[in-house]
Amino acid sequence: MMNESAIRLDGIVQNRLNFKLGPLHMDIPLGYITAIVGPNGCGKSSTFRMMLGLDKQDEGTIQLLGQQVAQGLDTELKKRIGYLQDQSSPHEDSMKGTEKAAFHRFWYDRWDVNRYRELLHNLEVDDNQVLGKMSKGMRRKFEFALSLAHNPELLLLDEPSSGLDPLAWKTMIEILHRYMDRGDRTILMTSHIIEEVKRLADFIIFMAHGRVLGVYEKDELFSSWFTLFVSGAGLNPKIAAAMPGQCGIEHAGGTTYRITTNKTSESEDWCTAQGYQIVSRQALELDEIMSALLMQDRLSTRAN
């Protein structure tokens, strides 16, 4: 399934005075959308900056589109990448949209002015304004259009939708789907918006405290996490704890227990074998899966 990788991190470590990132190992598959999710300050944006050579790692190696990134990115490689930062740079505040676009046109030889115009049109952006005067969402849309206008092979989006209204958000999703349609392009993104991850991602990477908690294929992830309401004579928390994949038990009245599992099909087999009945089932949302993973992580680090 996993074929070529677009980005590969090998043992990346970054030591900061009050934060240690890594060691990170990541393989971002070519031709897919991968989303990194995790709480604030988990190291997502720092990871992006290192991938782009904007920050230097203390240990480990990074490979981008098959090339080793050693001392910063060379210009040719940069031209194949589109990047949307999580925040707009204040030093560009007095710049006009058209001026920033001219700068991009100068650097990227694959800059496609028609594509740029089309993106501005679809997103309803007027680039004749000074960037500092644009509303937050408008500036975001402008920067988003810029990141795509040179038809990059690899797109890094750091919280692309922050500040967008629901309609603009929908347009953005559509643009990204169309961008991916060719099949040979890759998106790596971070997001806090559950719906966005659900609509876009093929793979999900969970990060916390500067580490990767896990990498999952999206549909597999959602189909393995469920909350089951299990009922049966003699069922008690002690027995329920033996259920495969069990990640939490709550009493739900009588002999019914609310059991969360990350191995749904095995858990169901277990219930059948033990003669317990599954009264009802509920899929977990992304945020619920994340907090369960964080909890497990906390328990396992305490155990060590």
Binding site: H177, G183, R199, D202, D219, A283
Partner: protein
């Protein structure tokens, strides 16, 4: 084109299976005729909100069954479905529905006679 496929995230059935069953039904029932170009993998994944990996799996499975064929670079098309297959499928769906009805009847302790007379009544209502 938008395929009328709907999935339930709450279902015990795996996503790929839900999509596969529905797409197979659309093809074998003749709603999608031979030669119809299916949406691209990314497009279908977007409409049913699943990952492209799942859709790829569905397309591959149905291609292996001979219901779809992929032409390099142009896309995935509906293949020819033979009459026999179509018939088997058509009656199969009815059989499944009947089976479900019988199970439901047994659950509320219906007798065989009651069930038969109910079936006759239902047939009368719809055919006369």
């Amino acid at each position: 084109m938008r395929l009328p496929i709907q999935i339930s995230e709450q279902s015990a059935e795996p996503l790929y299976h839900q999509i596969e069953v529905q797409l197979r039904a659309l093809i074998v029932s003749g709603q999608l005729t031979e030669g119809t170009l299916l949406p691209s993998i990314r497009e279908l994944a977007q409409t049913v909100k699943c990952s492209v990996i799942t859709v790829k799996r569905v397309y591959n499975d149905l291609e292996a069954e001979g219901l779809l064929r992929t032409r390099q670079g142009t896309g995935t098309y509906v293949a020819q479905v033979c009459e026999k297959e179509r018939d088997r499928y058509r009656l199969g769906a009815v059989m499944d529905a009947l089976e479900q009805a019988v199970i439901a009847a047994k659950r509320v302790q219906c007798t065989e006679e009651e069930l038969e007379s109910m079936l006759k009544e239902a047939v009368k209502r719809h055919f006369d």
